[in-house]
Structures are given as structure tokens and as C-alpha cells.
């Protein structure tokens, strides 16, 4: 199961775990967004590595070349990256508004304020 060729997949799992851990464990909302982005990047790497073929070139047509990487995952991931930044922007905007309302972006402090009000 462990060989150098499949190293990419191992790193994907490692990055996915790191991203998930940051999302779960950090209390700061901005850091959670960073964690979400790491998670997202690991999925991107998984897709791109599934579409790559040994000895293949970039999927731009050249006379005489028949071995290309699979262009379909590239398309999906290209648009996913741009959509990812757009959704991150929304998440950060929400964090900024939460900071306005509660004076903090730390989850536990916000929760404390909520329970005091109730």
C-alpha cells in the first residue's frame, strides 16, 4: 500500500485531516476559514492527481502528441477554485459582522455572551 507513486494520495489524506482539525479545534472564525481552504485544496489535489497519467503532458493539443492529462478534472477544479474564493469572501464578511455584533470572533466568547443574555 505504501509506495512512492501513491505518495500524493497520502498527502491528500494528511491535508484533509489537517484542514478538518483546524475547522473543529480552532475557536477563531477567521482561522476556521483558513482550515476550510486547506481542506478544499486537498480535494483539488485529489482530483488533479486522479486525472494525471504517467508521461502525459498538459491538455493543450499539439500535433503528434497523444498522451494528455485528463482535462475534465482540470475544468471542474478551475471553476471550484474561483467559487471557493467567492464563498470564503462571504464567510469572512459574516465573521466581520459577527465581530461587530459581539466584539469578538472567538466562538466560546460569543457563546458566553449568548448565555448571559438568555
Amino acid at each position: 500500500m505504501i509506495d512512492a507513486g501513491n505518495m500524493v494520495y497520502w498527502v491528500v489524506v494528511l491535508l484533509m485531516m489537517t484542514g478538518l482539525y483546524v475547522v473543529l479545534a480552532s475557536s477563531n472564525l477567521v482561522k476556521k476559514v483558513v482550515g476550510l481552504n486547506i481542506f478544499q485544496t486537498s480535494v483539488f489535489i485529489l482530483y488533479i492527481s486522479l486525472g494525471s497519467v504517467s508521461g502525459g503532458t498538459a491538455p493543450i493539443h499539439v500535433e503528434g502528441v497523444t498522451n494528455y492529462a485528463n482535462p475534465l478534472p482540470h475544468v471542474l477544479i478551475l471553476t471550484a477554485i474561483v467559487v471557493g474564493v467567492a464563498t470564503s469572501a462571504v464567510a469572512l464578511a459574516l465573521a466581520v459582522r459577527i465581530h461587530d455584533a459581539y466584539g469578538s470572533v472567538e466562538e466560546d466568547l460569543i457563546e458566553k455572551q449568548e448565555t448571559e443574555q438568555a
Binding site: T18, V33, L50, N67, A93, L109
Partner: protein, 317 residues
Amino acid sequence: MSLLVLLGTMAIAIVRLNRLFAVVILFDIFSLLSAALFVSLGAVDVAFTEASVGAGITTILLLGALSLTSKRQRQISWKRHLPAILITVAIGILLLFGLSDLPRFGDPEAPAFGPLYSRYVFGSPHEIGIPNMVTSILASYRGYDTLGETTVIFTAAVTVLGLMVRGSGARTWSGGGMDHHLILRINSKLMLPLILLFALYVQFHGDYGPGGGFQAGVIFAGGFILYCLVFGLESVQSFAPAGLVRVLCACGLGLYILTGLCGMLLGGNFLDYNVLAHDPLHGQHLGIALIEIGVGTTVAASMFAMFHAYAGYEPQA
């Protein structure tokens, strides 16, 4: 191989750090590294996007959010760490089990290289007539997907503006620029035309090499953002007023949909470019160019509008 190790190191460093400024800068490096990894895997278009979006715009937005919230994370208690570690390890083990079912890395017999692959890779040069297969799938074969994604970006821009802009949004902000730094001022003025020219090249050369509307839009917005950072927000008001930028967000999406509708009016399906000109290949060229311009406009305007919303935001007392 060394790229993978560096990526892992960055990710672990991000977990360990509590100073958020350092976290954001490390994430920037992480994005650049993953862009380099995409190049080595043959995904040049993706690398281009990751370098301009991940390392450029995401970092600016994160820094913007940091300046409006707090710079440090509080210490986390072990009560929070323990369940998180347990869940992460459990999911990691499950994923590792799943790995054994994946095809070998770089295997040409993998399911991903089935009939669909042959159709796209060997059909596209004849059916669409442009060398870059990523562009032909993005804009033509899977035009519906891209329309959906452009809509998502537009919606996100509308949401950010709705959350962060009060009143007309025409209020100008000054004093935040860095125009007292001579080197920054001269350099950014020298760079700006080059950045915009490069963005146009990426936009119109996307059929033949890596590039296209998404990358070009982000680079275009990046040029304007650089100018704003150095000279202050009000300096761009004269040629890119907030209202115009918002209208452009919608115009790009509108151009995309109109191109699709033109295909219907001329007797084809929605987003069918073959009918746009006498020769199907010319029609494809025209259709792809039009929707790439639409995508570029929406992406550039949305990114700039979002930056503007962050930079011009005034916290409520």
C-alpha cells in the same frame, strides 16, 4: 515529492500557530506550493487559477478580515482539542482504508481515462477547433456548469455587498493609502499597465494556451486592487465608481446568458455555438470568446467589488 513534504509542513505549521497574520501568510505560501504541484501534474490552467486566486485574492480578503477582527487566536483548552483529534483520526483512518481502492497514481487504465476522456481529448480539436482542451470543455462542452459557477460568484458578490456596504456605498475612504512611499508609488504605476496588459493577454489567449476568463478576471481585479492599496480607495473612484463595478458584475453574467439565448434564437439549443456563424467552427470560436469575456467581466468586477466592500468597511461602534 519535496513539494508534497513542504505542503504538509505548511499545513501543520498553520495548525500550530495562534498569530493569525502568520497563519494567513503561511496559507499564501501553501497556495503557491499547491500551484507548483498542479504544474508538475500537468494541470497548467488550474495552477494559473490557484496562483492568482489562492495566493492573490484569498490572501487579500483574509488580511482584510483580520484588520477588521482580531489578530490573535485565544489559547484553546484541551477539552476542545481532544474530541477534534479523535474525530480527525477516525476520519483519517477511514480515508486511508479508502485509498487502497484508488487506481495507481498515473495509471493510464484508470476509470478516469474511459470513453469520455477520448471524446474530449481527441474530439475537441476537430469539433471545437481550439488547441486548449480545458477551455473547450469549460466554455463549450460544459457551458452549463460554467454558467452555474459564474452565477455563484455573482451571488457571492451580491451577498458580500449586502452584508458589508451600508447606504449607497459611494462614500470614499482616504488616508489608508501608502502613497508617501516613493518606491511603492513608482513601482505600482509601472506595474499597473503591465498587469492589465497581461490580463488581456490571458483573456484572449485562453483558447491557445493556459488562461481564460476566470484567470484574466482575477488578474485584472488584482491590478486595480494593487492601485487601491497604494493610492487609497478614492483614487479609483473616477474611473471605476462603485456603481459601475456593480453593474459590470451583472453585465458579464448577462452576456453569458444572452450568448446562450442567441444560440436558441438561431435554431440551436441553449449555449449551442455551432449555429452562431455559417461555419460551426467559427461559431464555436465566437461563442467561446463571448462567454469568456462574460466570465472575465463578472469575475473581475465581483472580486474588485468584494475587496472594495472590505476596504471601505467601517465597524459599527
